[in-house]
């Protein structure tokens, strides 16, 4: 089942004197249940590609269909709402609201979805349990390690019951042990709940864990390989 479809998508930044083709005529399809890495050196267009998929950026040309909808037809508010209900996000850093505890952070996304208080609390605890932080639910982000913070971000992403999770370099700020264990967690959630993960990285160890690797270079897909 097709989850994400990109047809001849190009993104040109022309804010500078020399226009930059950050994404260059990309055709791409991602199916439900994938565990896919977008890889490539810095500046190859990973972030831009992910932002186009989530509607945070608009393509210069081409068509992007997510969950069966052409997202170019959405206005700003509709895009925000679309992301809220369809996409879980994990960013490289500063994911969490620093003045909220782990539990409050996870609850917050469900508040945005107008889920009832009791349901929010129950799910927040369940998801924090699922990412192995049951005993950390009342800790503030500053009281958690970098790896734990990323786990809370994953719990938050899942709590919104999205169609897929987008993670832009989720391990970039982590030591290798924490990075491995975050990948373990994501892989487990992918296997057990069939949750689709699309993450960017330029870390070899992380790339090895992906089931599909899409290699970017200068905004073009250089390689697209399925791993065993």
């Amino acid at each position: 089942m097709k989850l994400i479809e990109l047809y001849s998508v190009t993104k040109i930044y022309d804010e500078t004197i020399v226009p930059v083709k950050a994404v260059d005529n990309v055709d791409l399809q991602i199916d439900k249940g994938e565990f896919t890495a977008i890889v490539g050196p810095s500046g190859s267009g990973k972030t831009t590609l992910l932002n186009l998929i989530s509607g945070l950026d608009q393509p210069t040309s081409g068509k992007i269909v997510v969950d069966g909808t052409d997202i170019s037809t959405y206005n700003e508010d509709e895009l925000i709402n679309f992301r809220l209900h369809h996409i879980g996000f994990v960013f490289q850093a500063y994911n969490l609201i620093p003045v909220f505890t782990a539990k409050e952070n996870v609850e917050f996304i469900m508040l945005l979805q107008n889920i009832s208080k009791s349901e929010r609390e129950k799910r927040a605890i369940d998801f924090l349990d699922a990412v192995g932080l049951k005993d950390r639910i009342n800790n503030f982000p500053t009281e958690l390690s970098g790896g734990q913070q990323q786990r809370v971000a994953v719990a938050r992403a899942l709590a919104s019951t999205p169609s897929f999770v987008l993670a832009d370099e989720p391990t970039a700020n982590l030591d290798s042990v924490s990075a491995e264990s975050l990948l373990d967690l994501m892989e487990k959630l992918n296997k057990e709940h069939n949750m689709t993960f699309i993450f960017s990285t330029h870390d070899e160890k992380v790339i090895r864990r992906a089931h599909r690797v899409i290699q970017l270079r200068d905004g073009k897909i250089e390689k697209d390989v399925l791993m065993n």
Binding site: S54, D57, R83, H85, Y94, I109, L111, L112, Q113, R156
Partner: protein, 406 residues
């Protein structure tokens, strides 16, 4: 909503020191402006009260056109019966009948035009403390056939107590009024104009001298509560017929009203400056709180927080900072102002002497009105709302993809 309030409140304390400094700037500015306002209002109240007591009364009744023409022809009949009837109104605490006119005064070869006021000596002293102004000789009594001269006038004429002056002028209906009258006392006035031209006779003697039997030119009325002026005016308008005019202190002393207005305007300019301080305190903090959270805003919008919800949180933050300051300032100022209202700051030294001479107490008085507080709270609220537009506009224009790249 509670979550957004919680978020806004906790955000404030991410930088405790800065929030406290911003709130403190509001706090001190509010206290300062309240004290300033209290002092100004207190001063106005005091000026009005003193002017009313010492000079005009709250309300005056004259014969029609007297205030314009100042002639005995516009005088009115007055007797004890009127006095008693008026006193039945509970708001009226004192009634001063006066007969005022102008006359020529001569001693030796020097002549001057002076104001002659016929007074009820006891009543007059009760209200205006005229007796305290005597510097030489004695005060009048009801049957005195002597005259009190202002000190400056006595000097001009080179007259002493015990000498007799010639008072020569026109009485009621143009009957000539001339007499040789002994000077029984000298009174000193702080206002030079008065000190050069005021003279007093007892009312009965004045009525006799000016052939204005049973007549007076004005009735000064003192109330126990200045807020009752309008109701008493209505009462008096019904009491007296059309051949009288009834004026309140503001109509009698337009200069006082005007000088209060001018002073008040300068006070409002000072307030404006204080509000600019408040505005900078709030606005500066809000700008910094916005600038350092660009990435966070980007993430929140990315994960699905509507911009208006985020703007709501930043607006709450602005309102909280302002209200911590304004509430604390208002609360702390209440006991301070209450104290000052009951313990006006005493003045000492030469200033005090000068003020005493003008017939005022040497104090800096304060006043406390709830309206002063409402004005403060509303103004700070308005500043907060205006400041809140900065993050609102910032968020409106924020592109999350750009914010995320920081």
């Amino acid at each position: 909503m509670t979550t957004y309030i919680k978020l806004a409140w906790r955000n404030l304390w991410r930088n405790k020191k800065r929030t406290l400094i911003a709130a403190a700037s509001v706090f001190f500015a509010v206290i300062l402006s309240l004290i300033m306002r209290s002092m100004q209002k207190g001063y106005y109240d005091y000026m009005i009260d003193s002017s009313v007591r010492l000079y005009t009364g709250h309300i005056q009744i004259h014969g029609k056109d007297f205030w314009e023409k100042r002639s005995l022809e516009e005088s009115m009949l007055f007797d004890e019966a009127v006095m008693h009837k008026l006193k039945e109104n509970k708001n009226i605490i004192q009634i001063l009948p006066r007969l005022e006119t102008y006359s020529l005064i001569s001693f030796g070869i020097v002549s001057r035009v002076v104001q002659v006021t016929g007074i009820n000596p006891d009543l007059e002293n009760e209200v205006t403390k005229l007796k305290d102004k005597i510097t030489d000789g004695s005060y009048l009594n009801e049957n005195s056939k002597g005259i009190l001269l202002a000190e400056g006038l006595a000097k001009l004429l080179n007259v002493n107590v015990g000498d007799s002056v010639v008072l020569y002028g026109q009485g009621f209906h143009g009957i000539s009024a001339a007499a040789v009258i002994p000077v029984i006392g000298i009174v000193r006035f702080a206002i030079p104009e008065q000190n050069k031209s005021f003279t007093y006779l007892s009312l009965t003697f004045a009525q006799e001298h000016f052939s204005a039997f049973d007549r007076i030119t004005s009735l000064s009325i003192l109330l126990n509560d200045a807020n009752e002026i309008e109701s008493v005016k209505t009462f008096l308008k019904n009491f007296f017929d059309d051949s009288h005019e009834i004026m309140d202190w503001a109509e009698l002393s337009p200069e006082l009203v005007q000088s209060i207005q001018i002073d008040n305007a300068s006070g409002i300019i000072m307030l404006g400056i204080l509000y600019v301080v408040i505005a900078f305190g709030i606005f500066g903090t809000i700008v910094m709180m916005t600038a350092e959270r660009v990435k966070e805003f980007g993430i929140l919008i990315s994960i699905g927080m509507k911009k208006w919800k985020l703007a709501l949180v930043t607006t709450l933050e602005t309102i909280f900072i302002s209200f911590i300051g304004v509430t604390a300032g208002a609360l702390v100022s209440i006991p301070i102002l209450l104290y000052l209202v009951h313990h006006p700051i005493p003045l000492t030294g030469e200033t005090a002497d000068a003020i005493l001479e003008w017939g005022f107490d040497p104090i800096i008085p304060f006043a406390l009105y709830s309206g002063m507080y409402f004005a403060q709270i509303w103004t700070v609220f308005a500043i907060a709302i205006l400041s809140a537009f900065y993050p609102i506009n910032f968020i409106r224009r924020l592109k999350p993809s750009v914010a995320l790249r920081g």
